[in-house]
């Protein structure tokens, strides 16, 4: 009988977080050395890996564009990933929508015009799912693209937000997602531009604005974390290139990336 209580009387969410706290976040670059770039990201129990192949010569002649690169997204959800234990197929509506959202997010950000007549393939593997699929997919893809050295206008960082009565909450778990109206926002933190808003439910415009702003702010916080990971990785690479010699750390500009 016990009904799920998204926010208890002590202002705590069902997993012990406060409304504006994000879940434990970790990211790793070059998880799949066979790909041109790869990254694995986890938000709490949600774990997603993205692999980037390309830019490479387009296989599919029909879709080749002579002024820019074609971006392909492929999604694979491990059958054991989600709450519902079933095979997700490529034809699955939700998976297809997810792929389309990721594509729509990155097409305007990747400098595709630098690679005419080629294609960039992005494979997303969902290993474990506890809410925030879209944000994890986008964040992993960003890092994988960085890892592959594909030039982008800006980092894309993404975060979900939900609303319980009048309280906005960030980074929803599966349990929260299924009970609350929610949005996922993808932002270019440097410019503050928003590239994607995906909403599951209709919302009051005032409330939406509040949630939206918070998700953007949260996105910037995540971007800081992603930055660190990339810098660590760059340091390791630099050290490897310099034969392990110590490097002047101050030389790295935070905003180089």
């Amino acid at each position: 009988m016990s009904r799920f209580e998204p926010l208890n009387a002590g202002n705590l969410r069902s997993d012990g977080r406060r409304p504006l706290e994000l879940r434990s976040f970790s990211a790793e670059l070059t998880t799949h050395p066979s790909a041109d770039g790869s990254a694995s990201v986890s938000h709490g129990l949600t774990q997603v890996t993205a692999c980037v192949y390309g830019p490479r010569e387009a296989k599919n002649r029909a879709q080749t564009m002579h002024d820019r690169a074609l971006v392909n997204i492929e999604v694979e959800v491990a059958p054991w990933a989600g709450e519902v234990r079933r095979q997700r197929t490529k034809g699955d509506r939700r998976t297809a929508e997810f792929a389309a959202s990721v594509k729509a997010t990155f097409e305007p950000v990747i400098q595709t015009t630098l690679y005419p007549r080629s294609e960039i393939d992005i494979h997303i593997h969902v290993l474990q799912l506890d809410g925030g699929l879209l944000q994890a997919g986008i964040n992993a893809t960003t890092l994988a693209l960085v890892d592959a050295g594909i030039p982008m206008l800006d980092y894309v960082s993404s975060l979900s937000a939900g609303l319980y009565h009048t309280t906005a909450m960030l980074d929803l778990t599966n349990l929260e997602e299924s009970d609350l109206p929610s949005v996922t926002v993808a932002v270019l933190p440097r410019s503050g531009k928003v590239t994607l808003v995906s909403m599951e439910t209709r919302l009051h415009v005032d409330r939406f604005e509040e949630m939206f702003k918070l998700a953007m702010e949260g996105g910037k916080v995540l971007r800081g974390e992603m930055d660190k990971v990339v810098r660590e990785r760059t340091k390791v690479l630099a050290r490897q290139m310099e034969g392990g010699a110590a490097q002047d750390e101050d030389r790295m500009e935070t905003d180089d990336l």
Partner: protein, 983 residues
């Protein structure tokens, strides 16, 4: 700007999610559930000014526990009380008691378990916390132990969930002791944190960790007010009851939960709510979704401790053993008079009951054979899915007090008899028996063991003298769970700050109130209501248009302008669901400033309204309809009678009278069209209590309500408005629109009524459609007996299902229909002051016409379903409470009449049911139902629904639908009125 942070997971939980388990869904799919948990160091202990938890971030609660806890003779430095789950669940009445003053620490673990076990109890605990200052003088604090680093525990290998929770409780108790110790280091000695548990093993484990622990009884015994508090303690559990094991079982043990699950899933067992027979507490029905006819359960043994409202599991007997419901009125007061409360196995007691049961058994089969229509699938209760025990209003049975005990203050065991006749008597221990004898009291059931004939419970509180209006009123509010507390501060703060000085602001360009509102102040609008109506929520107008058509409008108080979604007032209104009308009191859904003032469409006052305006042809065909927020100024507030007079006096040609005539003409046509479509004209007993004077609440007499043309006028336009609005919101919000439906009754519901009508009166009911039913009801008339037709309609109404609110997206489109009104779609829009569903509908309609955006909560179907379920329940309860109140006042009025006239009241009545030892009668003039039982041997014919009674002049045959004179006597403190047939 707000601070957004990322939580780091605890190291040991880095790899493994906190919880990972597989769950099987109802459809049999396996689901993997992942949960993680973030542990924190900012969970406060709740002690005021705690130096360690000095500046906790906002937590939603402010620390309320006194620094020194509360005084206790055994703990000189003071103490805080930390109850475990069972202590809290079973002794909630103790904690709620006004004289209970200890400071309470409620652990999250405990709260979660309570919620899992009983939602109503959980809500009571939450109220306890919310009102900590008001109720529990020592304060109450919820400690979120499962999220604090030091107190969170994880499941150990092989540990049961219960054991883990108990360990969590001990861990938290130990943490509290050391935390409070640290906080007190320099100053005074630290108060004790006392674990309260009735589990002996738990106390032993606690003492091993040097955590002070006591049983509830031992704890209360040490309090200065032990005598007073001792009474509200729940009956001792089995563990402490040594004798229990030696007693003989009277009932069968319930089957294990797994067996029940499998049985129900496999179609071998049936699940449903238990409904006792109102005439016989020893039998009842279970409505199972899997069977068309309700399942009959007869006899104490087969009922197996089921109490009204419990969700039970039944096993069916083979069809050869199916029976008919009893044809005897069984009154437990009479049959059990000799039963001794202290004699707990009840073996000797209930002699009369044994005899009865045996005869019942024989007869049930006999009746079943003779009248197969009455035969039901019959079974026995083999398990309880969920108890639905609540607080019951009772009186102490004086006969169960031993003569020496009537003055004694020593603890004794007595029977409490619930006022509701179909509940078992409750055995309880009290030291206050002599004081309670003539009081109405609230009693809770604690348990019902296999070796105890009766459930065991405890005294909660006394309401007052039996028969006193205050006690009766409060008891019926409690009995029907009507929330009647005064509106709290937070709720009143949601009202306009101008209070009753609030007026519609002047019409200006930039006025927010006037934005998108039509100015209808000049329109000739009037209201028509019952006399003395204070909450006028509707007004009407009609006028001829130049093109020969008629414009008609319904204007409803714009309640949603004042009641905003999701604030304290809205939440309270949703919880109340409806205003409850008692004969001499109204329990408002909204604060009276709104209901009887700002939202009441009084005459000559500017008020905000939500208007539905139609263009109709003179034949009442709708040309178009529009909806708009408006400002109106009603020109007159009529009673039905005044409006009728006005309409009938053709000399009056003022616009208001003309408008009423126009409305009336349209209403007649609308009604005719509705009837032609098959709408039912159903009846319910409508009586009115006449009061001596408007100020006093002493009823003088009872009269039947008069129905005027103008009643029907208002009704027709309200129906029309509701239907128009329903269509509009359904179209705009197909998922979440709030609608109301009335499902067609299953044919089997009518079988008995059809048979009786045919056999007794040669009348036929055609139930093939609502139209056919309406027509055949019209033919059920007896010359010179206008009441007979009303009676048949009342009985037909009882065969119907109740109407209900639902969410448009929750059921299939084909089942939207309203059977009684013969409308394909319907909702409630016209009474937002007194019904919460209407408030929701107003919000949806406002969004549908783009007046305001729809609030987020109204987009969630789950949320809407939750609210509507609550509103449906409240609605039922409110109706019951109103009826009970009416019955009480009718009884008082009759008593008064009898005293004035020096003889018991006599009325004409119809027999509506025959039993082996009596008949049930319906007094239509009073809207009362009563029982007439015969002490003499009578001859009962179940086939012909009649009894033959020997009398001075020979034998008299009494059959269903016969009219008889009854003498009505009122029994003190019994809900059913009993009478004596004179002839």
């Amino acid at each position: 700007m707000v601070e957004i942070t990322i939580r780091k997971r605890q190291r040991e939980e880095e790899i493994q999610p906190q919880k990972k388990f597989f769950r099987k869904t109802r459809k049999g799919r396996v689901i993997k559930v992942l949960r993680e948990r973030y542990l924190r160091d900012d969970i406060g202990c709740g002690v005021r000014l705690c130096p360690i938890c000095a500046s906790p971030p906002f937590t939603g609660q402010s620390p309320s526990l006194p620094v020194q806890g509360t005084p206790h003779p055994s703990f000189p430095a003071g103490h805080h009380l930390l109850p475990d789950t069972n202590a809290l669940l079973h002794q909630i009445d103790l904690f709620e008691h006004p004289s209970f003053q200890s400071s309470l620490i409620l652990l999250q673990t405990v709260m979660d378990e309570v919620r899992h076990r009983s939602l109503p109890l959980y809500n009571r605990v939450r109220n306890l916390v919310r009102n900590a200052d008001e109720w529990v003088k020592g304060g109450a604090w919820v400690f979120w132990n499962e999220f604090r680093e030091e107190t969170a525990v994880g499941r150990k290998e092989g540990e049961s969930a219960n054991d883990m929770n108990d360990r969590a409780i001990r861990t938290a108790a130990a943490w509290y002791a050391s935390h409070i110790g640290l906080a007190h280091a320099a100053s005074s000695p630290a108060p004790t944190v006392l674990l309260l548990t009735d589990d002996t093993a738990s106390r032993q484990l606690a003492s091993a960790l040097s955590i002070p622990a006591l049983s509830v009884r031992a704890y209360v015994a040490g309090l200065p007010n032990a005598n007073e508090l001792g009474d509200v303690l729940a009956a001792p559990g089995r563990v402490e009851d040594k004798e229990a094991t030696e007693r003989r079982a009277i009932y069968d043990e319930y089957l294990p939960a797994g067996t029940l699950d499998a049985g129900v899933a496999g179609g071998k067992l049936y699940e449903g709510r238990f409904n006792p027979n109102q005439y016989n507490y020893l039998e009842g029905f279970i409505n199972s979704a899997a069977l068309v006819r309700p399942i009959l359960v007869i006899g104490r043994r087969d009922l197996n401790r089921a109490v009204a409202g419990d969700l039970v599991v039944v096993e069916l007997y083979p069809e050869s053993e199916w029976k008919a419901p009893g044809d005897e009125v069984v009154d437990q007061d009479l049959t059990l008079a000799a039963d001794d409360a202290d004699d707990s196995d009840g073996e000797e007691g209930g002699e009369a009951e044994h005899r009865l049961a045996a005869q019942e058994e024989r007869d049930a089969r006999d009746v079943g054979k003779r009248n197969p229509l009455e035969k039901h699938p019959t079974g026995r209760v083999v398990g309880i899915r969920k108890r639905n025990w609540r607080a019951y209003i009772c009186h102490l049975d004086p006969s169960t007090l031993s003569s020496s005990a009537t003055t004694s203050q020593s603890q004794q065991v007595v029977f409490a008899t619930p006022v509701s006749p179909n509940l078992p008597r409750i055995r309880l221990r009290t030291r206050q028996a002599p004081q309670l004898v003539h009081q109405k009291i609230v009693v809770s059931i604690d348990k019902w063991d296999v070796d105890s004939r009766y459930p065991e419970g405890h005294f909660v509180r006394a309401l007052g003298q039996v028969g006193s209006k205050e006690a009766e009123q409060e008891s019926l509010l409690l009995e029907w769970e009507v929330p009647y507390r005064a509106f709290g501060r937070a709720i009143l703060d949601c009202l306009p700050k101008e209070g009753d000085a609030w007026v519609v602001p002047p019409k200006t360009e930039d006025s927010i109130v006037w934005r998108d509102r039509e100015d209808l102040r000049e329109m000739i609008i009037c209201s028509i209501d019952p006399p003395g109506c204070q909450d006028i929520d509707d007004a009407l107008h009609a006028r001829r248009l130049p093109n020969g058509n008629i414009e008609a409008g319904v204007h409803i108080a714009d309640v949603s302008h004042f009641v905003l979604p999701d604030n304290a007032m809205d939440t309270e209104a949703a919880a109340r669901g409806t205003t409850v009308y008692l004969v001499d009191k109204r329990i408002d859904m909204l604060p009276s400033l709104l209901g009887t003032n700002l939202c009441s469409l009084r005459a000559h006052v500017e008020r905000l309204a939500f208007s539905v305006i139609w263009e109709l042809t003179p034949e009442a065909k709708i040309i178009n309809v529009r909806f708009t927020k408006s400002v109106i100024a009603s020109k007159a507030a009529f009673t039905y009678k005044e409006a009728q007079t006005r309409k009938d006096n053709l000399a009056l040609t003022d616009p208001v009278s003309e408008s009423i005539r126009l409305l009336n003409a349209l209403a007649k046509k609308l009604r005719a069209a509705r009837m032609a479509a098959g709408a039912l004209n159903l009846a319910s007993p409508e009586v009115r209590i006449q009061m001596e004077s408007p100020e006093s609440s002493d009823p003088v007499d009872v009269e039947q309500k008069e129905q005027l043309e103008t009643n029907s006028l208002v009704e027709e336009f309200m129906l029309l408005a509701n239907i128009s609005v329903a269509a509009k919101i359904q179209e705009t919000f197909p998922q979440t629109a709030v609608l109301r439906r009335h499902q067609p009754p299953p044919a089997s519901n009518f079988e008995l009524l059809e048979d009786v009508l045919l056999k007794r009166k040669g009348m036929k009911l055609d139930i093939s459609s609502s139209g056919a039913l309406a027509n055949s009801l019209d033919t059920c008339v007896i010359a010179d007996e206008p009441d007979f037709n009303i009676l048949v309609r009342i009985m037909a109404t009882r065969c119907m299902r109740p109407a209900e609110y639902f969410c448009a997206g929750s059921v299939s489109r084909e089942t939207f229909g309203h059977y009684g009104l013969a409308s394909p779609i319907y909702t409630h829009f016209t009474s937002p002051i007194r019904r919460f569903a209407d408030v929701l509908v107003h919000r949806q309609l406002a969004a549908a016409i783009n007046y305001t955006p729809l609030h987020a909560s109204l987009h969630s179907r789950q949320h809407m379903e939750r609210i509507l379920n609550g509103v449906n329940r409240r609605h039922r309860m409110a109706q019951n409470a109103s009826r009970a109140s009416l019955e009480f006042f009718v009884a008082v009025a009759l008593k008064g009449r009898a005293e004035r006239e020096g003889a018991p009241a006599r009325e004409k009545a119809f027999i509506i049911r025959a039993f082996r030892n009596g008949v049930a009668v319906f007094v239509s003039k009073l809207g009362l139902e009563g029982l007439v039982t015969f002490k003499r041997e009578i001859n009962f014919d179940p086939e012909l629904y009649s009894v033959k009674v020997p009398s001075a002049t020979g034998e008299v045959t009494l059959s269903v639908f016969d009219e008889v004179d009854v003498e009505i006597s009122i029994e003190k403190d019994v809900n059913t009125q009993r009478g004596r047939v004179i002839e």
